[in-house]
């Protein structure tokens, strides 16, 4: 197997606060090959954004402690010098953020913002950079790019701003694109356009994408592999089909059964995950999901409250749960699927 584009091993990110140490990411590992998309799913505070920010050293290194390895083409980015990271940012690794309005500068034209990144990394002159900016705007589907390049962000609509962000992110042909909730702030029809655009660009540039989202629908349409995060840890990992069709972890079940569908029986009640996510300061010794889990009683003894489950097996479709594999399959097919109204979906 060729070396993956990005390989994260036992990543831990901790922030010191007045109340204690927040373990935002606690032992995360994954691989991302070139041209593939990894979807990271989880709710607010599950550590999905922090782990991707850590890849670029944007997590506020002065207030936090990072350990583990982030290997980008074999080079470890944990503890790398600011200079090294700066050369990667925007050139080989790019990021798209959720809110295009706050992540674009209101004082510069869209063209200037694309050109800045391009000139910085390629040493191109103004004219070349401007040409590149027009070319990129055309590529992301902005009409009349040669005129719109001189517009300011406020003159763009929400969808166009997100396209402009993507243009900035892709202007240096990055190898890795981190998209943090790229469509959450957008309307559905615009979201569909942006997802199509990302798909096209992925096949054109062979870019590896980390797609962070809370929307299982977006994951289903975009990702090759999925990582479900809960309380700073990966609780389930597998191909998109494995995780969405035969999920193994009670939290993944909860996520799937709490979303309403466009088809099927309307009167199937939603089955939410009860309670709220735990504080990341004092996680109990057992499974962090145990207080919200409906199935921990089926695990013999008190393992769920005393022993932290590890992500098993080491490769392939894995989950961090003490339930036996046969129990997981049984519970999902007999209880979760009918209750979530997923029966019609083989």
């Amino acid at each position: 197997m060729p070396e993956p584009l990005l390989s994260v091993r036992d990543l831990k990110v901790r922030f010191s606060t007045d109340d204690g140490v927040v373990k935002a990411v606690d032992g995360l590992s994954f691989d991302l090959p070139r041209g593939r998309t990894l979807g990271i799913v989880g709710e607010s505070g599950s550590g999905k954004s922090v782990s991707s920010l850590a890849i670029l050293g944007l997590h506020g290194p002065e207030h936090s402690e990072v350990s583990g390895e982030i290997l980008f083409e074999g080079e470890n980015l944990v503890g790398a010098r600011e200079n090294t990271l700066r050369k990667l940012r925007g050139k080989r690794i790019s990021m798209i953020f959720q809110d295009p309005l706050t992540s674009l500068s209101p004082y510069y034209t869209i063209g200037e913002q694309i050109a800045e990144t391009y000139r910085k990394h390629t040493g191109a002159n103004r004219k070349q950079a401007k040409r590149r900016a027009v070319e990129m705007l055309a590529k992301v589907g902005i009409p009349r790019p040669e005129r719109r390049v001189d517009d300011y962000p406020h003159q763009f609509s929400g969808g166009m701003r997100q396209r402009a962000m993507i243009a900035i992110a892709l202007c240096c042909d990055p190898d890795l694109l981190i998209a943090d909730e790229p469509t959450t702030a957008l309307d559905v029809t615009v979201q569909a356009q942006i997802l199509d655009l990302l798909r096209e660009l992925r096949s054109e540039f062979d870019t590896g994408i980390i797609l962070i989202t809370h929307d299982m629908g977006v994951v289903a349409q975009m990702a090759d592999e999925v990582l479900v995060m809960y309380a700073g840890r990966c609780v389930e990992r597998g191909t998109v089909r494995e995780v969405l069709k035969t999920p193994q972890h009670p939290y993944s079940w909860g996520l799937l059964s709490s979303i309403p569908h466009l088809t099927g029986d309307v009167d199937v009640p939603l089955v939410p995950v009860r309670g709220t996510p735990p504080s990341l300061i004092d996680l109990p010794p057992g499974c962090p999901f145990q207080p919200r889990c409906d199935f921990s009683a089926r695990v013999p003894g008190d393992r769920c409250t005393t022993e932290r489950p590890s992500l098993l097996p080491e490769t392939g479709h894995a989950s961090a749960c003490h339930l036996s594999t046969s129990d997981k399959t049984l519970i999902f097919t007999d209880e979760i699927r009918p209750a979530a109204g997923l029966t019609g979906r083989p």
């Binding site: 309307d187 559905v188 029809t189 356009q193 629908g217 289903a220 799937l256 569908h261 088809t263 309307v266």
Partner: protein
């Protein structure tokens, strides 16, 4: 459960219009145009019914919600609540109706005063309206907190001590405090995480059924609206383009825009792309300051012909649709977007 029989008409809006003036000029501010946020819509909400309003940002759904709650005074049209015309009712005239129409807002962070305790937030509406429930306000607040699934002992806590989902519950408790007949819920769950979103949707659904409260449920998430509302209107650029019972709207959508919306929703099923129709709208929503002539959707519609620019299609009953399923289109679609399972 089948969709309940609608009760009496609670709220009725006819030709409702809200044009916000645009003024310009440095010294003499003159009216130079208007944003036609809501531009002639009709809607009827029955007692105990959940009426859904969907559409994309800027389509006027929130403005409609605020008009219905009479937080805004419409520039034209009429609003009738329980048989009384409240279109231009004064503050004083509205006072007896206010308790019956409550709102739940989208953002649970900015809609609660951080300096007030939960107790005083939930008791606020009773105080304003001078209502003293039997047993005192405090007791009532405790009951309300319990109804929405919060610990009544948290009476003295401040909003920052609660999570987003819990705060939204506080907002719901506040809306319930005056035993309203109608709740206008403007994107009540879109700021919440999925697992929490389901908790709040279930709570609202329980309240609607058990307390018989009518809802105007405004959302951009088509799946959530399908789950929560019995009758749904789709808005585009200040107009209702299609309105129907949920089974008809999702099972037999006729307006091209409804088709486009439905086909854009990503389903949490990796195989769904293969059996769904794929429609991608191009371009952006036109400006509501100067909407297109004729049908407003024609600039993005794949079926548009000359007549669409000349004549505005009326919102009308089409052949092969159930009673009350209205569509405003010259060339309605008849294909299925989302195949039934």
């Amino acid at each position: 459960m089948t969709d309940q029989q609608p009760g009496e008409v609670l709220l009725e809006a006819r030709d409702l219009e809200m044009h916000f003036p645009i003024r310009s000029g440095a010294i003499i501010r003159r009216r130079t145009g208007s944003v036609r946020a809501v531009d002639g819509i009709d809607l009827t909400v029955h007692e105990g019914e959940s009426f859904g309003l969907v559409g994309e940002s800027g389509c006027g759904k929130s403005t409609t919600g605020r008009l219905v709650a009479r937080l805004l005074e419409p520039t034209a049209g009429t609003i009738t609540y329980a048989g009384r015309d409240i279109t231009h009712a004064s503050r004083k005239e509205l006072a007896p109706i206010r308790p019956e129409i409550q709102m739940i807002f989208q953002d649970p962070y900015s809609s609660l005063n951080p300096r007030h305790t939960v107790g005083s937030i939930v008791a606020g509406p009773m105080e304003v309206n001078g209502i003293d429930p039997p047993g005192g306000r405090k007791k009532r607040v405790r009951e309300l907190l319990e109804t929405v699934g919060l610990n009544p002992e948290h009476y003295n806590r401040y909003p920052h001590e609660f999570s987003g989902g819990q705060r939204q519950r506080i907002g719901v408790a506040r809306a319930l405090s005056l035993e309203p007949k109608l709740i206008v819920a403007d994107e009540p769950v879109s700021a919440l995480d999925v697992s929490i979103q389901a908790q709040v949707v279930n709570l609202l659904q329980r309240l609607q059924r058990e307390l018989g409260i009518a809802f105007v449920f405004i959302a951009h998430d088509l799946a959530v609206v399908r789950h929560f509302s019995q009758r749904i209107a789709v808005m585009y650029l200040g107009k209702i383009v299609e309105i129907a019972d949920r089974a008809d709207l999702y099972g037999n959508p006729r307006h091209p825009y409804t088709h486009a919306l439905l086909s854009s929703v990503p389903e949490a099923d990796p195989d769904s792309e293969s059996h769904r129709e794929r429609i991608r709208l191009t371009g952006d929503v036109p400006s509501p300051i100067d909407p297109p002539s004729g049908c407003r959707f024609r600039t993005r519609c794949w079926k548009a012909k000359d007549i669409c620019a000349e004549q505005e299609p009326p919102l009308a009953q089409l052949a092969e649709t159930t009673e009350g399923h209205l569509t405003a289109c010259h060339f309605p679609e008849s294909r299925h977007v989302v195949p039934a399972l």
